[in-house]
């Protein structure tokens, strides 16, 4: 699927890179093949970790229908003696949600292969447990202690379908100020390594490879190993695929409940141009601000954006369970009120949502002028329901102040994948926290 396409594109570019390397002018090539004493020596430790893990890891491959060409692939490793294999939920999500369309297989480094069945999923932490038929790879020892910053670490997997690979880097502890528990790994990780083991210097698994920030320098993330043990305890039986969607929905509900529980009842506000607006409402919510720096512009705009950044992968094209809001404060002393509201309308019209009709139904909206603390505002609330998960909704709220002819706020709240009641309770607190306090 998309993952496979991305892998194909990357593979193509790598091959092109290799051809360019071969095309180098021989006259400019080094005269000898002796190793340059100035270059760092290959890590014996990495070689040793890879050798020891070789019998424990497998490539997990997904196939559409009866096709023999894989639709997606990732990595996994044995975590128990009874053949249970740990991987990421996002590696096997298609087979969990569409079991009639996709099948899973494994391919071990020694050439062994066979079918896989799903035994447990943890959508919130992006983990899954699968089991191989008649194949029991050697389990790797698991370490639940979070590595300290600067600890030597390794990641193993099958990047870009290029074969078993190990990368060496540094673990940088838990990512700070987020509900989403992730260990920051400063080392290379590529598509296809998802679900592979992240090893410490002693060769124990401290986590599971999960994601990477592209277009940045070696910023990768690992799911802490402490979540593996809990999942393995529920993985003794094969998952009933007819109820897998209900299980995923329940876990998404649990995730959004935890998100709202982490936010205090009274939302913290910050002043901006006479308005008090919700800002850093919880430690896990990060805010940043920006504005038009040119004082000569007739319209001054200040933008404050906040987000919990706790999106959960559900399936290709659907990441949910997140909370974000943005305030834009517009002010002018040069424009006529009619010109000002024209600019204001442009800002309001630019508000948009992303989503696929495969996953969500269209929005239903209601709009009214509402008397808030000290000012009137037009409040629009839009709600759309998930097609596969009836208990989950996306909720969008747009607040436009209507109390000043040359000053206004446009506040936009986005809640993704939340229960209707708890989402609306948060909307009530969010809108109710706004004040006009010049």
């Amino acid at each position: 699927m998309l993952q496979a396409v991305a892998v194909a594109l990357l593979a193509t570019s790598l091959m092109l890179g290799a051809q360019r390397a071969h095309a180098t002018d021989p006259a400019q090539a080094p005269a000898t093949t002796e190793p340059d004493p100035g270059l760092p020596q290959p890590s014996n430790a990495a070689r040793d970790r890879l050798d020891r893990a070789r019998d424990s890891v497998v490539q997990i491959r997904g196939f559409f229908g009866d096709s023999q060409a894989d639709a997606f692939h990732g990595s996994g490793f044995a975590a128990s003696t009874d053949g249970l294999i740990v991987t990421n939920y996002h590696v096997v999500s298609a087979a969990v949600l569409y079991p009639k369309q996709y099948r899973l297989e494994f391919l071990a480094p020694n050439g062994a292969n066979g079918k896989l069945s799903v035994h447990a999923v943890d959508v919130e932490h992006d983990l899954a447990v699968v089991k191989a038929e008649s194949y029991a790879p050697t389990p790797i020892r698991i370490r639940t202690q979070i590595p300290v910053k600067g600890e030597r670490a390794y990641s193993i997997g099958f990047p870009l379908d290029l074969g078993l690979t190990i990368t060496e880097g540094v673990a940088n502890g838990l990512v700070e100020n987020t509900l989403e528990q992730r260990i920051h790994y400063s080392g290379a990780m590529n598509g296809g390594m998802s679900g592979g083991p992240a090893l410490d210097n002693a060769g124990a698994v401290y986590g599971v490879n999960v994601s990477v920030i592209t277009a940045r320098q070696l910023v990768s993330f690992v799911v802490p190993a402490k979540h593996i043990a809990a999942l393995l305890a529920t993985a003794q039986k094969q998952l009933d695929m007819n109820s897998a969607r209900e299980l995923v929905a329940a876990q998404l509900n649990s995730h959004q409940a935890a998100l709202f529980a982490s936010i205090p009842a009274k939302l913290a506000t910050e002043p901006s141009s006479g308005y008090l607006l919700p800002a850093k409402i919880a430690p896990s919510v990060e805010c940043n601000s920006d504005g038009s720096a040119d004082a000569g512009k007739p319209l001054r705009v200040e933008a404050i954006g906040c987000g919990a950044h706790v999106g959960v992968f559900v399936e290709d094209g659907l990441e949910t369970g997140d909370l974000r809001f943005q305030h834009r404060v517009l002010e002018t002393d040069k424009l006529h009120p009619l010109q000002f509201t024209e600019q204001l309308n442009r800002v309001v019209e630019a508000i948009g949502w992303a989503g696929s009709s495969k996953h969500v139904a269209p929005f239903a909206c209601t709009t009214k002028i509402v008397a808030l603390h000290g000012f009137d505002a037009r409040v629009s609330t839009c709600v759309r329901q998930y097609r596969m998960f009836a208990s989950l909704f996306d909720i969008g709220v747009t607040v436009v102040s209507l109390n000043e002819p040359r000053r206004a706020i446009v506040s936009n709240l986005n809640l993704r994948g939340v229960a209707f009641e708890s989402g609306m309770d948060f909307v009530r607190r969010y809108v109710g926290a706004m004040q006009w306090n010049p």
């Binding site: 949502w353 139904a361 239903a364 709009t367 808030l372 629009s380 839009c382 002819p405 609306m424």
Partner: protein
Amino acid sequence: MEPVERASESTPEDLPEPPLAAAMLIEVLDTHGRVQTRHRLTGAGATCKIGRSLNCDIALDDAYAAAEHTAISLLEDGRVAITDLGSSNGTRINSEQGSQRLSNASATLGGAQLIVGRTRLRIRTYHTALAPERLFRRDLLQRNSTLLAGIGLVAVTTLVIANEWLQAPERLAPKILTAILAVAIVIAVWTGLWALITRIAHGVWSLRLHVAIACNAAAGVVACIWLFAIAEFATQWSWLDLPKFIACSGAVLAALFLHLHNATNLRRRTAAIVIAVIPLLLIGATVWIQQQSESRNVNRIAVGTAIFPPQLSVMHGVELNEYLSDIEALKREANRKRQQSLAENPLVSTR
């Protein structure tokens, strides 16, 4: 002007005596029904042959006419006798009773249209009924087309300037000039098209008339949209959408009717029907397609109408609890849309 006696439909026995010697006028018409050439014959027994041959009195440049196609003879009682001279395509007569192929020699009082090949001819005799004198048009639009065209141009220019001013660009003057130029080109092309049709149908351009119609209608539609937008903001009445649509599209239809009525020979009723049917069908289809597309667009949010300065609003805000009290209705509507979405595109089954 020759003296004319109006003839009525009557039998040859009842025919009044022609005041002068019998006469007929054969008019060759172009494709728009306008007279190309006239041929006058007088005296009973006078005959006119029509065809492509140079032997004919009226030589046609028509590949579908025979060399000697039709003969027209003037009878003593003032009627004419039409005889097909054995052509393959035949001769047809268009009268109020319809079009029919001439089988035998036929006598007529005149007034009928004769079709020879693809050429139309009209025969007039003293017995042909004359239409009453057509009055000069005295409607408001035609009498004041210059004034109305001027008013329309000023209105359009003002609205263009106002629109550009509203956008508050950094360099207003060049923006205004560019916008005026763009609008002028559009109006020129539009009115030029209608003037050309008028020239073909009536022989006059009537450019000012069409400028008056186009400019006033454009200004009216823009003003209509703005006024309704302000009214919707002031009252927050969402039902104003329908009267807004009716009023603004009504202005467009009225302008199209005036263009069509003044540019063509269509009767008032026919023009009204054309304008009512074709644009309404087009507008209806467009609105329907748009609504269907919007109702399926899962990322479309309705955040209300355009915002204007708060002083223009006459509504007071409701309490937040009151606003959220009916939120269950929103949930029901979202659920209805989900059901509709699932009905149109069911989920892939797990069983």
